[in-house]
């Protein structure tokens, strides 16, 4: 196989995620593509966790619907992921012989004809390595040998993690890996039916999570103050910037609450420095009043929402796309804002750069709608691709001529007014959450409120024009289109390819700019489309309803495929939705 999906399930202490990380890094070193999705229960330690890793020499867009190769440390833990781990027919399943569940009670469909192999993971780690915690490393050796993963790459990754700080730990782990390999050589000389037959390019790739990518993108864009409050699944952004932003002259504050986080950022930006905050849905809800402040005071600001399952606490560790209405419509009043949606790990970086560009150029709050599925996954990335787009700008300051009789909210054709920062003589002004005159003085005049609302709104079509990046995949002239956003892109893109292989003419349209709607680019993408299916992980079909309400260009026949989140979108369900709506149009042409 050139495209293998493997899953490892166990308890938190089993080191499942660590093992997964090493596999991904090993693949990256060989120039292979890899994708890892972590999944875990609510317990901090000792709870169940799973790592799902897909490796291929072809581009990977999704987590893979079916698992080809499964490693189970405990059947009890595996059962918790039974919704997420669907085995392929003929899959290979390794399980720890220490688990005393009788084989007839294994929670596996007998019709799948899986190849079951008992391995003494625990025994080898305890009795031979004498460090029970190395069970995951023994398993790594077994997996690598059976699947033909690059063993040297895995060892390199282990050395990188432990080599300098804990050389003894590195040594023990490597012994454990070798022991696992030897066990395969001694006990399964013929291997199994599943083997990865993909050669990497040899050009090493980077491994990044979506949360790290958005944080790194912000750092590259010039963020100088970051304020955040811990929340799953956005905390890695706070952690990344806490570690690295001081190296680049910035400051990070972990504030007392979500409101303080966004208001610190607003204060810092008003004072002249690029600023950002990040959270997840419930935390964003708390920030929304302050978002309105940034909007009326026209203060550049970037807010990241790594969406999770809601409402309220929902399922904090799982993904959903149901904060769209909150992003485009939350906050009292008519609030001009920008909503950008990254669609994969690399895009998290690009969107962060774009967000600062728009925030600074248009003096407007920008929301980045990431989600847990993007934020906590790891992907391999080509290093060159990250810096290809040049969108980094500094604060756009008022010119000396603006400072004579300075008007902070001067009416202009673009809606963008000259902005000063403290220290600029003659540039001082009053700003507030109050409606105001051109010079910032508060007003309660309805006429002025209308004029100022129009001024702020004038930025929106310019943003739509400038930043309306829309991805299009598949047949350009298809009459059937799938509309999707954010992390749904992966499964949709793969499903499009599958549908086309089956003779269905179809294309996928994925806008990066969600609000304002990039109308012209969407119009162009939808030209000739007679039927569309809007696909999303929101039970309330927020994207479908949003497009219906805000966009006039949808084909008359537009359908919704929407379900609640938590379980990632599958290629197969998207394909099913496509097939369901493909009838009666675009019949495959005879060659």
């Amino acid at each position: 196989m050139r495209d293998v999906t493997l899953a490892i399930a166990g308890s938190g202490g089993d080191g499942v995620i660590t093992a997964g990380d090493f596999i991904v890094q090993a693949a990256a070193r060989k120039g292979l593509n890899a994708f890892m999705l972590k999944s875990y229960g609510p317990q901090i330690r000792g709870g169940e966790s799973s790592a799902r890793i897909r490796i291929s020499d072809q581009p990977i867009y999704s987590q893979g619907d079916f698992v080809d190769f499964l490693v189970v440390f405990s059947w009890k833990d595996f059962v918790r992921f039974i919704d997420e781990i669907q085995l392929r027919k003929g899959a290979v399943v390794l399980y720890d012989e220490a688990d005393t569940t009788p084989p007839e009670e294994f929670p596996i469909d007998k019709d799948l004809g899986v190849e079951l192999i008992a391995v003494p993971f625990k025994k080898m780690a305890s009795e031979e390595i004498k460090v029970p915690l190395t069970k995951n490393m023994v398993a790594l050796g077994v997996i690598a040998e059976l699947l033909h993963l690059p063993l040297d790459g895995i060892k390199d990754a282990v050395m990188k993690k432990f080599g300098k700080r804990k050389p003894e730990a590195a040594q023990v782990n490597i012994e454990a890996i070798d022991l696992g390999k030897k066990w395969v050589d001694d006990n399964l000389p013929d291997g199994t039916q599943i083997v990865l037959e993909a050669e990497g390019t040899g050009e090493p790739k980077l491994v990044m999570t979506g949360d790290d990518a958005v944080a790194y993108g912000a750092l590259h864009a010039g963020v100088k103050v970051f304020a955040g409050y811990p929340i799953t699944p956005a905390s890695p952004i706070l952690e990344f910037l806490s570690k690295w932003l001081p190296h680049f002259g910035g400051a990070v504050v972990q504030t007392e609450d979500e409101i303080a986080a966004i208001t610190y950022a607003i204060g810092a930006s008003w004072a002249g420095k690029q600023a950002m905050t990040a959270s997840s849905g419930p935390g964003i809800a708390l920030k929304l009043e302050a978002l309105g402040l940034a909007a009326i005071a026209e203060i550049p600001l970037v807010v990241v929402n790594v969406q999770r399952v809601g409402p309220s606490t929902g399922i904090p560790s799982k993904s959903e796309q149901a904060d769209l209405f909150q992003a485009v419509g939350g906050t009292p009043g008519d609030v001009p804002r920008v909503v950008l949606a990254p669609s994969d790990v690399e895009d998290n970086f690009q969107v962060a750069v774009e967000a600062f560009y728009l925030a600074e150029k248009y003096q407007i709050p920008v929301i980045i709608l990431s989600d847990q599925f993007l934020g906590e996954r790891s992907e391999t990335i080509d290093p060159e691709i990250l810096f290809a787009r040049k969108r980094v700008i500094a604060r756009q300051l008022a010119k000396p001529s603006d400072l004579k009789d300075y008007k902070r909210y001067k009416l202009t054709d673009t809606g963008v007014s000259p902005m000063t920062v403290p220290g600029m003589k003659g540039g001082q002004y009053i700003t507030s959450g109050l409606e105001h005159h051109e010079d910032g003085r508060p007003t309660s005049s309805g006429t002025l409120h209308q004029i100022m609302s129009e001024k702020r709104e004038r930025k929106m079509p310019l943003i739509a024009e400038e930043s309306g990046f829309v991805r299009i995949y598949g047949d350009e002239d298809a009459e059937l289109a799938v509309l999707a956003w954010g992390s749904s892109k992966g499964a949709v893109r793969e499903a499009i390819e599958k549908a086309r292989e089956e003779g269905i003419k179809v294309k996928a349209i994925v806008p990066q700019l969600i609000y304002p709607i990039p109308e012209k680019k969407l119009d162009a993408a939808l030209k000739g489309v007679k039927r569309a299916v809007v696909i999303e992980l929101s039970f309330g079909a927020q994207f479908y309803r949003y497009l219906r309400a805000y966009y006039d260009g949808l084909p008359k026949e537009t359908y919704s495929y929407a379900r609640s989140g938590a379980n990632p979108l599958l290629v197969s369900e998207v394909l099913e939705a496509i097939k369901q709506h493909a009838g009666g149009m675009d019949a495959p042409q005879e060659a």
Partner: protein, 286 residues
């Protein structure tokens, strides 16, 4: 060239003042403008951040970078501004409802971080802008529009709270004594760290003119016998029941400030590892 001497007039603005005639906040405004002149801080280097309430309108009345923000959030916005631009003078201002009710969490943590800003609270014991509801410092038993049977709650003691939390500068002023208040603001601004000034600033409309007399009758100006570096003395003063202390109650030096800590972290980080550009950070993902 000799620098032009700044006067209080240089800190006035053309923004129309919305306060009622006789409002205590006029005294605070005068004291702030005089203090700015005394400190000779150029208007463009002064940032005045306020929350919501009658008193929070003050951000528009001082010629500076003024920001009349949202309810309760003056402190984190001022802290963020100071963190971004440590070279600027940052004042935060607001009322008792803004600071001791909706914004209490920020009061607690701004003290903890010792952000180098001066926080002037115009404490009038009432919600004035919303026309007369009970506030966290309204005395027990007082009748207000939202306590028609008398205030059932005990009032909060902001001075004692600040002291317990480890504030590094605590003072109380009176809007009826502008000169004294001006001096407190000057001292507070010169203090390296969070300086907290609670100002008895009567609301003549909803609490009556006699509030001025209450402070005049019960106010006690702290003299040399009070040692503001002595925590126990300061504690005793904050517990006065009848008398109202006026002056610097507590002040200690040498506690690192929010922006100093950020600066230290930058130095430590850069000593450990230097990057020429953000692109070099790519190495950590290999």
């Amino acid at each position: 060239m000799e620098p032009v001497k700044l006067t209080a007039k240089d800190y006035k603005t053309s923004v129309p003042i919305v306060w009622c005639p006789g409002c205590g906040d006029f005294g605070v405004l005068n004291a702030m403008q005089q203090a700015a002149a005394e400190l000779a801080v150029p208007p463009e280097n002064l940032m005045v951040v306020s929350g919501i309430g009658c008193s929070s309108r003050i951000a528009g009345y001082v010629n500076a970078f003024g920001f009349n923000t949202i309810h309760g959030r003056a402190l984190p916005i001022a802290s963020g501004a100071k963190l971004a631009r440590p070279e600027m003078t940052v004042w935060a201002a607001g009322g008792d409802g803004d600071g001791y009710s909706i914004g209490t969490n920020h009061f607690v943590h701004t003290i903890r971080r010792n952000a180098d800003i001066t926080y002037i609270v115009m404490d009038n014991h009432i919600y004035g802008l919303t026309k007369g509801q009970v506030s966290p410092t309204t005395p027990h038993g007082d009748y207000t529009k939202s306590t028609p049977m008398g205030n059932p709650d005990r009032p909060l003691n902001p001075l004692a709270l600040a002291l317990e939390l480890g504030a590094t500068f605590i003072a109380q002023g009176f809007s009826g004594n502008v000169k004294h208040l001006r001096d407190l603001i000057v001292k507070g601004t010169q203090h390296k760290g969070f300086s907290f000034i609670n100002v008895k600033s009567p609301c003549v409309t909803f609490r009556g003119r006699q509030e001025f007399n209450v402070v005049r009758e019960h106010g006690v100006y702290l003299d040399e016998s009070h040692d503001p570096t002595d925590w126990n003395q300061a504690h005793e003063v904050t517990q006065w029941k009848e008398k109202i202390p006026l002056g610097v109650i507590y002040q200690i030096h040498g506690v690192p400030t929010l922006d100093q800590i950020a600066d230290d972290l930058r130095h430590k980080a850069q000593e450990k590892q230097q990057f020429k550009s953000s692109k070099d950070l790519l190495e950590i993902f290999r």
